[in-house]
C-alpha cells in the first residue's frame, strides 16, 4: 500500500503534524509512506523518522518565475506539471491533505488516488464534504480568538487519522537547558534582553544546569553582541533535535523547536505572544508549560501588524512568571504567578483531547474551563452524538467535573462558573428565538427573484450576533458560521434563507448541547458534594 501525505505549510506545521504521520504509520504498519513538502523545508527529511520517501514542491523557484520573471512561464508550468505527473505515476492508494490552503486543494485536484482525504477541489469545484470536522476546520482557520481544540486534533479528525499514541523513548537526560529566542514573526518574539536576564536567573537558581542558546548559524554574529560564544549552539534543526533528546528543558516562543522537543520527549516551557495562539499550537506533550499574556488584544491576527509601536503583550509576559514556570517544571513545586496566564498540558493519555490546566487563578481558570466545555460541546455536535437516542451528556459532564473538580479549581468557583454558564445558555436561547423570528421574515421574501427587502433583516441579524459576541466573547467560535453568512453577499432572499437556516440550526444545537452538559455537571457536582458531606459526618461520628 502506498500513501501520500501533503504538508505544504511551514517547518513548525510539518513537525507538529508528525503525530498524524505517525498515526498513519500506526494504522498502516506495512504501508510505504510518502510526504510532499515545500523544497525549502527539505530538512524535514532528517527530522521525521516514519516517512519512507520525501517529495518536494519547488515553491521558491516557481514563485520567483511567476513574481520576479526570472524564467518563462512555461518553465514554471513544466516544473509543477512534472512533479504532479511523477506523483501520479506512484499510484497512491490514499492521499491525505494535511494542509488547509488553496494551493494544496488545487494540487489535490491534480493528484489521482481512489481515496483522497482533507480539503480538495473536485474538477475545479470546492469539494463539499459531508464530513463535519473538515468543515469545522475550514471555518476555524479563518477566525481569531482562543480555540477549543489543538489544530492537530481537528486536522486528525478532518482527515480521519488517529494521532499517534505511544510512549517516547528518551535518551539519558543531561543537565542542559536550551533557550531558543526567535520565531519568524517579530510579534511572537519576547525581547532578547528578557532572554538574557532569564538566562542569568536560571544560572543563579539552578547551579547544576548548563544553559545554552540554540540559534540558527546565520544569526551567530547578532547573538555574539549579547552572549558569550561558549553559550551559543549554532546548529541545524537536526543537530538541535539530537541535543534536545537529552536535554532537561527547552524554553522557547511558539516556533518549530517546541514541536521538535515534543517529538523527542524534551519538556518545554513555551511563551505565546502576538498571534501565537496558546490554545491551538502548543507542543503535543503532556506536562508542557504554556505562558500567555493577559493583554486584551492577545491573540492578534497572524496577518496583521501590531497596532502598538512596541507590542504591549511582550511586557505583559513577566520574567518572574517565566522563572516560576521553570521552577515548577524542574522542581515540581507549586508556584504562584504574578500576572501571566500559565497552563499545563494534560489529558492526552486517558482523554480524547489535550486539556490546558490553569496553574494561575482568574481568567486562566475561566479560559481553561471554557476551552474544555467548548471542546465537549463541539465534539458531541461534530460527531452527531446529540442525534443518538441517549446522548452522552451525563458521562461528558462527569468527565468535565473530574478534570477540574479535583485539580485546582475550588468547588464554589466551579459551581458559580457553571451557574453563570447556564444563565448564558438560557439567554442565548432567547437570541435563537430572535434569530428564528428574523428568518421567518426572510422566508416571506423568498418568492422574490432578487435580494430586495432583505437588507434590513441582514442588519438585524448582524446586530444580534454582534450583541452576543460583545456580551459573551467566548461564544465567538459557535457564532462563526452565522457571522460569516451575514457578511456574505447573496443574490436572492432564498439563497440567503437556505444558508442562514442551517447556521441558526447549528447555533441552536450547540447551545442546547451546552446547556444539557452544564445542567448535568451541576447535578453531578452537588451529588458529589453531598456524598463528601455525608462521608465527613460519618467520620466525625465514628471519631466521637
Amino acid at each position: 500500500m502506498k500513501i501520500l501525505a501533503v504538508s505544504l505549510l511551514r517547518m513548525g506545521d510539518i513537525l507538529m503534524q508528525n503525530s498524524i504521520f505517525m498515526g498513519i504509520r500506526q494504522s498502516h504498519p506495512g504501508a510505504e509512506i510518502h510526504l510532499l513538502v515545500h523544497e525549502e523545508f527539505a530538512q524535514a527529511k532528517q527530522l521525521l523518522d516514519g516517512i519512507d520517501y520525501f517529495h518536494f514542491v519547488p515553491y521558491r523557484s516557481i514563485q520567483s518565475v511567476l513574481v520576479e520573471g526570472t524564467g518563462s512561464l512555461s518553465s514554471a508550468f513544466n516544473k509543477l506539471a512534472g512533479l504532479v505527473r511523477f506523483l501520479n505515476e506512484q499510484k497512491y492508494d490514499m492521499i491525505y491533505n494535511c494542509t488547509h490552503t488553496l494551493l494544496s486543494a488545487r494540487i489535490m485536484d491534480l493528484l489521482k488516488s481512489p481515496q483522497k482525504k482533507g480539503i480538495q477541489f473536485d474538477d475545479g469545484r470546492v469539494f463539499r464534504s459531508q464530513e463535519k470536522w473538515l468543515n469545522y476546520m475550514n471555518e476555524i482557520y479563518t477566525q481569531t480568538g482562543l480555540k477549543p481544540f489543538h489544530m492537530i486534533e481537528v486536522l486528525s479528525r478532518a482527515v480521519g487519522v488517529e494521532c499517534f499514541k505511544g510512549e517516547l523513548q528518551r535518551s539519558t537526560v543531561k543537565n542542559e537547558i536550551y533557550i531558543q529566542t526567535e520565531t519568524s514573526d517579530v510579534k511572537k518574539n519576547w525581547p532578547l534582553q528578557h532572554f538574557k536576564n532569564l538566562k542569568k536567573e536560571i544560572e543563579s537558581r539552578f547551579k547544576d544546569q548548563r544553559v545554552y542558546l540554540v540559534i540558527p548559524p546565520h544569526r551567530k554574529e547578532v547573538y555574539l553582541e549579547q552572549f558569550n560564544e561558549v553559550d551559543l549552539v549554532a546548529c541545524s534543526l537536526s543537530e538541535a533535535k539530537q541535543r534536545l533528546s537529552g536535554a532537561r528543558l527547552l524554553i522557547s516562543p511558539d516556533t518549530s523547536m517546541i514541536h521538535l522537543a515534543a517529538m523527542v520527549g524534551c519538556p518545554s516551557v513555551v511563551l505565546f505572544l502576538g498571534s501565537a495562539n496558546v490554545t491551538s499550537t502548543f507542543p503535543l506533550q503532556e506536562g508542557s508549560i504554556l505562558l500567555s499574556p493577559k493583554t486584551e488584544c492577545y491573540p492578534c491576527r497572524h496577518s496583521e501588524a501590531c497596532k502598538f509601536a512596541e507590542p504591549v503583550c511582550h511586557e505583559d509576559l513577566l520574567l518572574k512568571d517565566v522563572i516560576s514556570a521553570i521552577e515548577f517544571k524542574l522542581e515540581e513545586n507549586k508556584q504562584s504567578f504574578a500576572g501571566t496566564n500559565v497552563f499545563q498540558v494534560t489529558g492526552r493519555t486517558d482523554r480524547k483531547f489535550y486539556n490546558l490546566q490553569a496553574l494561575t487563578g482568574g481568567s486562566a481558570v475561566s479560559n481553561s474551563l471554557e476551552r474544555k466545555l467548548s471542546q465537549q460541546v463541539w465534539e458531541i455536535y461534530l460527531n452527531e452524538d446529540y442525534r443518538q437516542p441517549l446522548p452522552p451528556y451525563g458521562s461528558t459532564a462527569q468527565e468535565f467535573i473530574e478534570d477540574f473538580g479535583e485539580i485546582n479549581v475550588e468547588q464554589e468557583f466551579l459551581d458559580g462558573w457553571l451557574q453563570r454558564e447556564l444563565q448564558s445558555a438560557a439567554m442565548l436561547e432567547s437570541f435563537v428565538e430572535k434569530f428564528q423570528h428574523q428568518m421567518q421574515e426572510v422566508s416571506r421574501l423568498c418568492h422574490r427573484p432578487n435580494f430586495d427587502g432583505v437588507e434590513g433583516i441582514v442588519n438585524n441579524l448582524s446586530h444580534l450576533q454582534n450583541e452576543i459576541t460583545i456580551k459573551m466573547p467566548s461564544r465567538s467560535d459557535e457564532l462563526g458560521k452565522l457571522r460569516d453568512l451575514v457578511r456574505t453577499r447573496y443574490e436572492s432572499a432564498f439563497s440567503f434563507y437556505k444558508a442562514m437556516k442551517l447556521a441558526v440550526e447549528e447555533f441552536e444545537s450547540l447551545n442546547f448541547i451546552r446547556s444539557q452538559i452544564i445542567s448535568k455537571a451541576l447535578a453531578y457536582l452537588r451529588e458529589r458534594r453531598a456524598s463528601h458531606v455525608k462521608r465527613a459526618r460519618k467520620l466525625s461520628s465514628v471519631s466521637t
Binding site: 514563485q63 518563462s72 514554471a76 509543477l80 488553496l102 491534480l110 475545479g124
Partner: protein, 174 residues
C-alpha cells in the same frame, strides 16, 4: 498540413470542416456557437492583440473581429486548407485578422506579445496536444503575460490537466 479535410453543411446551411469525421465547429449552428463563445470570453485587455488558437469554420473569429473592431487578431490554425478557406470566405477581415498557418509558424516563429490568448476548443479536435504546446510556447515567449492574465483567459468550465496546473500556479503568487 496535408490531412484530408471534408466540408459538410451544418443544419443551418453553413459549411463546417471535418477531420477524421470530427467536426471543427458546431454542426447545428456555427454562427450561434460563435456568438456564445465571444460572449463567454474573459475580459479582453485594452492595449494588445488577441491570439485565437483554432480556426475551424471561422465564424468565431469573424464574430470576435466584429465585437472588437479595433483589435488585431492572430488566428492560429493547424491545417493549411482551413487557413486558405478562411481567407477566401472572409476577405473583408484580411486587414484585421492575420491567419497563422502553424506549419509555417513552426518553421519560422515570430516573437510576438499577446494580451489575451484564447482557445476555440471545437476547432482543436484531435490536435489538442499541438495547441497545448502552442499555448505553452506563446506564454513562454510572451514576457508581458502574467499568471493572472493566463487564468483570465481560461474558461471556468475548462478542467483539463493544463488548466488545473495554471490554476495551481496562480496560488503561488497569492
Amino acid at each position: 498540413m496535408s490531412i484530408n479535410i471534408k466540408w459538410r453543411q451544418a443544419d443551418r446551411g453553413d459549411w463546417v470542416p471535418f477531420v477524421d469525421d470530427r467536426a471543427l465547429a458546431s454542426t447545428r449552428d456555427p454562427r450561434l456557437e460563435a456568438i456564445r463563445w465571444v460572449q463567454a470570453l474573459p475580459t479582453i485587455r485594452e492595449e494588445s492583440d488577441i491570439a485565437v488558437l483554432g480556426l475551424g469554420a471561422g465564424f468565431h473569429v469573424a464574430e470576435l473581429a466584429r465585437a472588437f473592431p479595433n483589435k488585431k487578431i492572430f488566428a492560429f490554425e493547424n491545417h493549411t486548407e482551413i487557413c486558405d478557406k478562411f481567407k477566401k470566405n472572409f476577405p473583408e477581415l484580411a486587414e484585421q485578422v492575420e491567419v497563422v498557418d502553424l506549419s509555417e509558424y513552426q518553421k519560422n516563429p515570430f516573437d510576438k506579445s499577446f494580451g489575451t490568448i484564447v482557445h476555440f476548443r471545437s476547432a482543436q479536435q484531435s490536435a489538442g496536444d499541438v495547441y497545448k504546446k502552442l499555448y505553452e510556447h506563446l506564454v513562454g515567449v510572451n514576457g508581458k503575460l502574467n499568471i493572472k492574465e493566463i487564468i483570465d483567459t481560461l474558461d471556468e468550465r475548462e478542467q483539463s490537466f493544463e488548466s488545473k496546473i495554471w490554476r495551481a500556479l496562480r496560488e503561488f503568487v497569492k
